[in-house]
């Protein structure tokens, strides 16, 4: 028998890794099915729904009054915005006139909430990049101060239930405004402090520059909103493009960059947005009119006129929309939420294609996804 020379190919296999639902960097319970070639990502499949609580269904089975208290939990880091979206949709149906003082207070607390949300993002993003123990707790220091202010005005630190249909629920005392002013005076220095540690840190720059570039075409196709799309050069900010509440009377810049954004730009956009929020709150304090704060009587059997309405607000993560159909009763007929995290998460497989394993965290963290907001 003639001997044949066998050719041996060195065969390499792709490895399928199941990242999550329990993984320190997936911010809750996202599951990513990753196909890896060595350490390079070939394919990503996000598996959602581990945190599905039926928030829309719950809205249809609770009275308006009850659901107001529940709605902060949809996006637990920016409860003011979810409350506000729902309140505006209901006011649109009901034709309630919100008193100007309440509108200014809404803008103030929402911008405060935007700051707390971005601060938490900043800390956790650094954890994702591997600065496990150092920097992340500095933002939490300022976040706690804001939470103390929230506690004073809303009675709660995170699940505020402060913005209600028709207005806001409590009027702040003059001392509260003084405290807020004092915080705003010291906060820019604190942001400078974060920036001295992070912004030009060579390792941070290496990890974030030119990583996870989000092109304008992809961003538009997938319906990305919020700081993600603004850092890619599209100035989409509902506060300016489709102004609501008292935003037309306030001066602020919409943060955009000229080029297509990488993760560093998304970081920078949030830092700059915090600075803009400070300015907005300052203007609100100066312009705050006196008067009533509630345009609709809050009670357990509260009713909304029959009809349907949609409202959208610019939450820290993007456009947060709420669509309501009311039959005129104590409960809604249908709730539908447009959650920014859900839409922003959709670009993840696109951005992760061909990047190394370590960049998954850098990119996923920079999108700023809140899992309860994705799964509802």
């Amino acid at each position: 028998m003639a001997t044949e020379i066998q050719e041996i190919d060195l065969k390499t296999d792709e490895m399928i890794i199941n990242m999550g639902p329990q993984h320190p960097a997936t911010h809750g319970v996202l599951r990513l099915l990753l196909t890896l070639d060595g350490e390079t990502v070939k394919h990503t499949e996000p598996v959602l729904g581990h945190l599905h609580r039926g928030q829309e269904w719950q809205g249809q089975n609770r009275t308006w009054f009850q659901y107001q208290a529940l709605i902060d939990r949809v996006d637990y880091l920016s409860g003011m915005f979810t409350s506000w979206a729902m309140a505006r949709a209901c006011e649109e149906i009901d034709g309630t006139v919100v008193p100007p003082r309440a509108e200014y207070l809404r803008v103030m607390v929402s911008e405060m909430n935007r700051i707390t949300s971005h601060l938490l993002w900043l800390g956790t993003y650094l954890i994702d990049l591997g600065a496990m123990f150092g920097f992340p707790f500095y933002p939490f220091r300022e976040r706690e101060k804001l939470f103390d202010l929230f506690e004073e005005i809303a009675g709660q630190r995170m699940m505020f239930n402060y913005i209600r249909i028709g207005g806001v629920v409590r009027d702040p005392k003059p001392e509260w405004l003084d405290k807020l002013k004092r915080f705003l005076d010291e906060f820019p220095d604190r942001i400078d402090e974060y920036e001295t540690i992070v912004t030009q840190n060579p390792i941070f720059l290496k990890r974030t520059k030119d990583v996870g570039i989000l092109t304008q075409a992809v961003a538009k196709d997938y319906g990305v909103t919020g700081p993600c799309i603004r850092s890619s050069g599209i100035p989409l900010d509902l506060r300016r493009t489709k102004p609501y509440s008292v935003y037309p009377e306030l001066k602020f810049d919409v943060i955009t960059f000229d080029k297509e954004g990488d993760t560093w730009d998304r970081y920078m956009a949030r830092i700059l947005e915090m600075r803009q929020s400070i300015e907005i709150i300052r203007q609100c304090i100066d312009k705050l009119p006196s008067g009533d704060i509630m345009g609709k009587k809050q009670m357990a059997g509260m009713r909304i006129k029959a009809g349907e309405g949609f409202s959208a607000v610019e939450s820290p993560r993007g456009i947060l929309g709420c669509y309501v159909i009311s039959g005129g009763g104590e409960k809604a007929l249908r709730f539908r939420w447009r959650n920014p995290s859900f839409c922003n998460l959709a670009i993840l497989p696109e951005l992760l294609k061909g990047c190394p394993l370590s960049d998954i965290m850098a990119i996923f963290g920079s999108i700023d996804v809140i899992l309860p907001d994705v799964d509802r």
């Binding site: 490895m15 890794i17 993984h23 320190p24 960097a25 350490e39 650094l126 954890i127 994702d128 990049l129 591997g130 600065a131 496990m132 123990f133 150092g134 920097f135 992340p136 707790f137 500095y138 939490f140 220091r141 540690i197 840190n201 390792i203 941070f204 290496k206 990890r207 190394p356 394993l357 370590s358 960049d359 998954i360 965290m361």
Partner: protein, 452 residues
């Protein structure tokens, strides 16, 4: 100035209490076994005790290390957590015992009592051996250092090897095998990636690390750790950190040698001065190269890719629990200590006082204090305190734990590299730089009289 002065005070108090406790216990064990017991036996039995005494003296260093490593690791975990907490506006563990002193003791008890799990499908033998293989080199690798850090105390003479640093480096290269073993045997994809990363990283960063130490050995002209330490005696200008003897001439001149001492050391005139400057710069670069390489070698942030908690769920030790995990943990902190000791011995003059003797002896009170300690009952009769070793050990403790705290500060500041950036940094930056430094030193040392 310090808003957290209270915390700083508490941490300093905790550090002093722990260090005093650790070194008193370890030294009492050494003294009891190596000095007091042989003295007692000789006085009772006479010559018959000679063999027993030899055995006791040989066993003393080993027992000392085995006593020292666990309590030292406990202290280092505690100080790392407290110091990190200080720098990250947190409180840190402060509930178990006064100042949280017993926190790590409680943690250790918890880890030892936990169930020891071998995952399904794991290679049980390899899974068990990996932590042992990881821990063992850090113990026997530390052995030759003991003579160097105690200023060659008679009890630890036996440990000194003529090729000391070579042995230490060889022992330091072993743990990577254990990490790959642990990653492979765990039957977990994250662990496997962690193990492979650690292999790649350790091999790459071994080169600048060893090259930087070779530069020092070249300046010293020996591999013997005790000799390297002795050469550096006599103040900060003699340390290897500052030129490895290139500034000794300056030191001698300051000590009273005047221009004559300068002319002896820098015999080529201006060329010698330039070369001395080059040597100082090169050795400082070598020092940083060593610190960087060592950080990568012992897997600390920013080079903790094999663990990478936010990516690989702590990598190679994901599947370990209980005692095996405790051994991994212990070895990690022991490695940090060993690396700091090597830095102290090779660059920072071992137990040498940074203030040179010609200044120190002129400070009123200090020579009298040294003499009083030397003549005291403890020192002259009981041999509890040996004046040479006593002050040397204090300096070693200050330097080594200073470096440990520095590593903690680094951990509290920097994010983590990506694996390809890590490799690029190692091969494209550190290795060429260390080779350049090495070549500069090879030529520059010919024009200056230095240690070697």
């Amino acid at each position: 100035m310090f808003s957290n002065g209270d915390e700083i005070f508490k941490i300093s108090r905790l550090t002093i209490v722990w260090l005093a406790g650790i070194f008193t216990i370890v030294w009492m064990v050494c003294w009891g076994l190596g000095i007091a017991l042989p003295m007692l036996l000789t006085s009772q039995l006479g010559d018959k005790a000679a063999l027993t005494n030899e055995i006791l003296r040989a066993a003393t260093p080993v027992i000392a290390i085995l006593v020292f490593i666990p309590i030292n690791a406990m202290f280092m975990v505690l100080i790392e957590r407290r110091a990190l907490a200080l720098w990250t506006v947190r409180k840190g563990p402060n509930r178990v015992g006064p100042d949280g002193n017993f926190q790590t003791a409680a943690d250790a008890v918890k880890l030892l009592l936990k169930e020891d799990i071998t995952p399904t499908g794991a290679d049980a033998v390899m899974h068990t051996f990996a932590p042992i293989l990881f821990f063992a080199p850090s113990v026997f690798g530390a052995v030759p250092l003991l003579a160097a850090v105690t200023n060659n105390h008679p009890l630890f003479h036996v440990l000194n090897l003529p090729t000391g640093i070579f042995f230490v480096l060889a022992a330091g290269a072993l743990p990577v095998v254990a990490l790959v073993m642990a990653g492979w045997a765990s039957n977990n994809k994250y662990s496997l990636v962690g193990g492979l990363r650690s292999a790649a990283q350790a091999i790459s960063y071994e080169i600048p690390l060893v090259l930087s130490l070779i530069t020092v050995c070249l300046m010293a002209g020996t591999l013997d750790l005790v000799k390297i330490t002795e050469q550096q005696a006599g103040g900060i200008l003699n340390w290897n950190l500052l030129g490895g003897g290139a500034l000794t001439g300056l030191n001698n001149a300051l000590a009273g040698g005047g221009a004559k001492a300068l002319a002896t050391s820098y015999f080529m005139g201006p060329i010698s001065y330039v070369c001395a400057g080059l040597l100082v710069i090169s050795l400082i670069i070598s020092f940083w190269l060593y610190l960087t390489g060592a950080c990568a070698e012992i897997n600390r942030i920013p080079f903790d890719l094999p663990e990478a908690e936010s990516e690989l769920v702590s990598g190679y030790n994901t599947e370990y629990s209980g005692m095996k995990f405790a051994i991994f943990f212990l070895a990690e902190f022991t490695n940090l200590f060993v690396v700091s000791s090597i830095t102290t011995v090779m660059f920072l003059g071992g137990g040498d006082n940074p203030i040179p003797p010609y200044i120190l002896n002129n400070i009123p009170g200090i020579p009298q204090m040294v003499a009083a300690i030397r003549d005291s009952y403890f020192c002259s009769t009981l041999h509890i305190i040996n004046p040479e070793t006593f002050f040397a050990t204090l300096w070693v403790i200050a330097k080594v734990y200073g470096l440990v705290i520095f590593a903690v500060l680094i951990r509290g500041t920097l994010p983590r590299f990506r694996i390809d950036q890590l490799m690029a940094f190692g091969w494209k930056r550190l290795i060429p730089l260390s080779l350049i430094v090495f070549i500069i030193v090879v030529f520059a040392r010919e024009f200056v009289i230095c240690h070697g």
